[in-house]
């Protein structure tokens, strides 16, 4: 892995990338993931080319957002952070009252032409707001600072849980926590927090939606309900397991092509990959993910200031949570939580958000030389 090679600065052929303030290796990794995703989505959708085109359009949109954000100076992004955070909270409240319902949850704001999911932008805005707060306050954070920040995380997370959208809430909370962690949150606070969470679990359980509880229960014993809630996990494990080392071949997966596998182009696309491309395909995908992850971490490490470092690092760790929660769910290691496989799953909003995150990362990385 060329994680240490410097971004475009010294190589002649990287002139354009450098001009656009893009990181070559990271962009290559993202494109590789997207391409991989297109191939699998095409197969998972039953060779639906219309769906493929829609996915391509989203990729284009995501890339446009990435390039745009890469041009923004980090200082500008930083100064916007608190306002974006307050705006996001407002939109979340708006969703609570006038939002549109889909799949049993109220997540959407209808803006006329596009439907917009405010919870999605909180994945970026929460870590940015926390990093803005910590920017001038040198780490590690004090206890009252921590409490303030936990409060800032808890409000949007609670609103998102209420929608309910457990997957997004989990990602927003992670993103916020990672900022605290990277800022040097003391271990004893973390251990204390863990104990507090363990104590709060029963209370949380009581507030979960019936389907969410079912998911957890099913996760603990999928075979208890093989035709109902456990069906997803059982079928996806069968799909992956039956793929073997080399897989059944592209568009040849019986579990996915014969529709035994639910949600196969979205949340469970990893199972399609496992079935059709086997351990080989899975291994390659995970290597690309590792490459993107480490390249992103390197960019964060090279950031000039606290804001850049914390936002960059938090976004990359959240990226990892995406991967791990999704693959863990599909392979039966974790409960079914609606988190897409980043950049591979079919679906618009998360693709754009992720690309936006990588755009911010590139902005942080590319502007340092001009803002010493």
């Amino acid at each position: 892995m060329a994680i240490d090679s410097l971004p475009g600065s010294r190589s002649a052929n990287a002139g354009l990338l450098s001009t656009l303030r893009l990181d070559g290796p990271l962009l290559m990794g993202l494109l590789a993931l997207s391409l991989f995703g297109l191939i699998v989505v095409y197969s998972a959708s039953g060779e639906d080319s219309g769906l493929l085109v829609r996915q391509l359009v989203r990729m284009g949109l995501g890339l446009a957002v990435l390039v745009t954000l890469a041009q923004m100076p980090p200082a500008l992004l930083r100064s916007w952070s608190p306002w974006l955070f307050l705006g996001g909270l407002f939109l979340l409240l708006l969703v609570l009252f006038v939002g549109e319902t889909g799949k049993g949850a109220q997540r959407w704001l209808n803006l006329g032409i596009v439907r917009f999911q405010p919870s999605e932008m909180m994945k970026l805005v929460v870590p940015m707001a926390l990093a803005w707060y910590l920017h001038e306050r040198h780490p590690p954070p004090r206890w009252w600072q921590i409490l303030l920040m936990l409060f800032a995380i808890a409000i949007p997370v609670a609103l998102i849980v209420r929608q309910p959208d457990l997957g997004t809430a989990l990602l927003v909370a992670s993103a916020g926590f990672f900022v605290l962690f990277l800022a040097g949150l003391r271990w004893r606070y973390m251990i204390g927090g863990l104990i507090a969470i363990a104590a709060a679990l029963p209370v949380l359980w009581a507030h979960l939606h019936e389907y969410q509880r079912q998911r957890v229960l099913t996760f603990l014993n999928p075979e208890s309900d093989p035709l109902g809630a456990g069906y997803h996990i059982i079928q996806s494990k069968i799909a992956i397991g039956s793929g073997g080392f080399f897989g059944k071949g592209w568009t040849e997966g019986t579990q996915s092509q014969l529709q035994f596998l639910p949600e196969r182009s979205t949340d469970f696309i990893f199972a399609v990959l496992g079935e059709e491309f086997g351990l080989m395909g899975v291994g390659i995908l995970i290597l690309i993910y590792l490459f993107v992850f480490w390249r992103g971490m390197v960019l964060a490490l090279r950031a000039q200031d606290n804001f850049g470092r914390l936002v960059g690092g938090s976004l990359m760790l959240t990226f990892f949570v995406y991967i791990f929660v999704n693959t863990g769910m599909v392979t039966g290691l974790m409960p079914v939580v609606g988190v897409p496989l980043p950049l591979v799953s079919y679906g618009g909003t998360s693709m754009v958000t992720l690309m936006a995150g990588f755009g911010i990362l590139m902005s942080i990385n590319s502007h340092k030389r001009f803002m010493p």
Partner: protein, 625 residues
């Protein structure tokens, strides 16, 4: 970590961040490797297990129902065939709102109210995963319309299946029978493995009695199905189905048609058989029903309508109808009298039209009020003198009457190879005591002499007994099966005729008495005073026959006709039995027309038409057989 040092140095900030980032990165990488090892276990270590589960999901073993054998007449005309029938089916467990789907389907395919009724009746009685037919006999246009919109209707499918079709329709309905859904009783007697994938079974007639030959055996195939259970493709035929063999019947469809048309507008039956081997040449019962309507419409209303029709079209009069044989019994009793009593056939008895029995004031009357005058054996049969046979019956006594008629095959099932035959009834003292708990009266013996009273016979029995008369005591079980054609070799194997059997009683009758009786039957057709003289004109062959006119009013216990109109109810049944040519019998006939009137005027002409058709046209074509 240090608690007290507050490092205000950027380099320190960076170092703290780097430590934490590296730590998180390593943990993340470790977790991903853990994940990879989890996938390794799934995909490599436990691969076989999951591969088996995946195949279990998609692969299903489906039965291949066999093609049912066809039914032909003896010359190879098709009586029952298989035609493709496109059926629209719905699998309840795959449809959320069934009523809504039916309504939407109604825009594409015509769904009538009775289709809906049948559908919802089946819906409540079948399991959720079993397909339920909505419509049958879809037209090509309807199939095309549905195929275009198929995606809109998950759980709804068009299934092509072979349905039974009977090209001769009502004409052969009672013989060939029909098919119906396999019932619980059917399941008890069939080998289920041979019937997997089949949902119809022969319910009556040949379809029922030769079910094991016609059906064949189910095969099996491995198919790939999707999650909705729809078959995507056949992976492998594990065992091909064994098609059923074809069956040839002894009937000649042209002769059947002649008999059918001769009975047009009448209620009754015609049985024609070949006395040489007992095979049925034609067997008609009218009114009849169209078995195709029964096969195509699954609704019970059609069936119930047929069941409650006052003409009783479902009822096979030829094998099940029990009628007083009337005067057709006279040749048999005459022969018994010649054999068993000191009756001198040449000595005339005086027939005054009245016959008195001890202890009864009112006389038994002859059908001709003024009587027949001096009447010998021949004249008694030719003119069908009742008084002569009253006297003869008294001489024989009821038990000997029972003995002889039973020896001729009456009072017991004829043994035809389709189900449902009636036994008829030849009374005896013993029978009356057992069945009614009463003793026998002389008067009952008297009317037994003219085939009235308790005595009942089916048209088929009469034909069998007449054949025994024509063969001078040789009996044969009548049979419809003519041959079986193997489904693979396509070779027709002729079935040997059923063994003839004789009885000591009939063997003891001397040849002169047989001849005298048969001569009298010939004279009853071919002499000017014979009751069957109307059919003798221009006959190029000699017919031996006997007319019968059975009085219905004496049938107090016969409930079959009680709902009918009174005037018709009182009219006599017309009967006729015959064989021809008299010297070398080749066809035996029995004809019955319910409430038809005189046997000579109504039943005999029908027999003549059938005999002419057979002996003058059809017989030649048999020589090659």
């Amino acid at each position: 970590m240090s608690n007290h040092l507050h490092i205000r140095d950027h380099e320190q900030d960076r170092r703290l961040f780097s430590r934490r980032a590296l730590m998180a990165g390593v943990v993340a990488t470790g977790l991903l490797l853990l994940l990879l090892s989890r996938i390794f276990i799934l995909q490599v270590v436990e691969h076989q297990h999951y591969a088996t589960l995946a195949d279990g999901n998609r692969v299903r073993v489906e039965p291949i129902p066999p093609t049912r054998g066809l039914i032909y007449d003896r010359h190879g005309s098709v009586l029952a065939e298989n035609v493709p029938n496109y059926q629209l089916e719905l699998i309840p467990e795959q449809v959320e709102d069934i009523t809504e789907v039916l309504n939407t389907l109604g825009d594409i395919i015509e769904i009538q109210e009775r289709d809906r009724e049948r559908f919802f009746r089946l819906l409540s009685s079948q399991r959720r995963f079993q397909p339920i037919p909505i419509r049958q006999n879809l037209s090509e246009e309807e199939i095309a319309r549905f195929s275009v919109e198929r995606q809109r209707f998950p759980g709804v499918e068009i299934r092509a299946r072979l349905a039974r079709h009977y090209p001769q329709g009502a004409m052969t309905a009672h013989l060939v029978g029909y098919m119906g859904a396999i019932s619980r009783e059917d399941l008890a007697r069939i080998d289920r493995s041979r019937y997997s994938g089949t949902n119809q079974i022969g319910k009556s007639g040949i379809e029922f009695s030769y079910e094991p030959i016609l059906h064949g055996g189910a095969g099996s195939r491995r198919v790939e199905t999707n999650a909705q259970g729809r078959i995507i493709r056949t992976l492998e035929v594990r065992e091909p189905a064994v098609p059923g063999d074809d069956i040839y019947l002894s009937i000649d469809i042209e002769l059947q048609r002649t008999a059918w048309e001769a009975m047009e507008g009448k209620q009754g039956a015609v049985v024609a058989l070949d006395p040489k081997d007992g095979s049925i040449l034609a067997m008609v019962s009218r009114p009849a029903y169209d078995p195709n309507i029964l096969a195509e419409s699954l609704d019970r209303a059609t069936f119930r309508q047929l069941e409650t029709d006052p003409g009783r079209p479902l009822f096979d009069r030829a094998t099940r109808g029990r009628y007083p044989p009337g005067s057709t019994v006279k040749p048999f009793l005459g022969l018994a009298g010649l054999d068993a009593t000191d009756l001198n056939p040449d000595r005339p008895l005086r027939c005054t039209g009245e016959f008195f029995v001890e202890g009864r004031d009112r006389p038994f009357r002859d059908w001709r009020r003024e009587g027949h005058g001096p009447t010998d054996f021949n004249k008694a049969i030719v003119e069908s003198c009742d008084i002569y046979f009253y006297e003869l019956a008294m001489r024989l006594g009821i038990d000997r009457i029972h003995q002889y008629l039973t020896a001729f095959g009456m009072g017991a099932r004829a043994g035809l190879d389709i189900p449902g035959e009636s036994a008829g009834l030849i009374p005896s003292r013993d029978w009356k005591r057992r069945a009614l708990g009463e003793s026998w009266y002389h008067g009952e013996t008297v009317i037994a002499g003219i085939g009235q009273g308790y005595m009942l016979a089916t048209p088929l029995q009469l034909a069998k007994s007449t054949a025994a008369l024509a063969n001078r005591g040789e009996l044969r079980r009548p049979r419809l099966l003519y041959g079986v054609r193997n489904a693979f070799t396509r070779e027709l194997e002729a079935m040997p005729p059923p063994e003839a059997y004789r009885s000591e009683l009939l063997d003891g009758i001397n040849g002169a008495n047989w001849q005298r009786t048969i001569d009298a039957m010939v004279d009853s057709i071919h002499t000017p005073r014979g009751t069957g003289r109307s059919i003798s004109f221009t006959a190029p062959y000699r017919i031996a026959g006997k007319t019968g006119t059975a009085q219905v009013f004496s049938l107090g216990e016969d409930e079959e006709y009680e709902h009918e109109e009174l005037a018709i109810h009182l009219r006599d049944h017309a009967l006729f039995i015959a064989f021809a040519p008299a010297e070398d019998p080749q066809i035996v006939l029995s004809v019955l027309v319910e409430h038809g009137g005189g046997g000579g005027s109504v039943a005999a002409p029908i027999a003549r038409q059938v005999m002419d058709k057979y002996l003058l046209e059809r017989k030649e074509s048999h020589n090659g057989d």
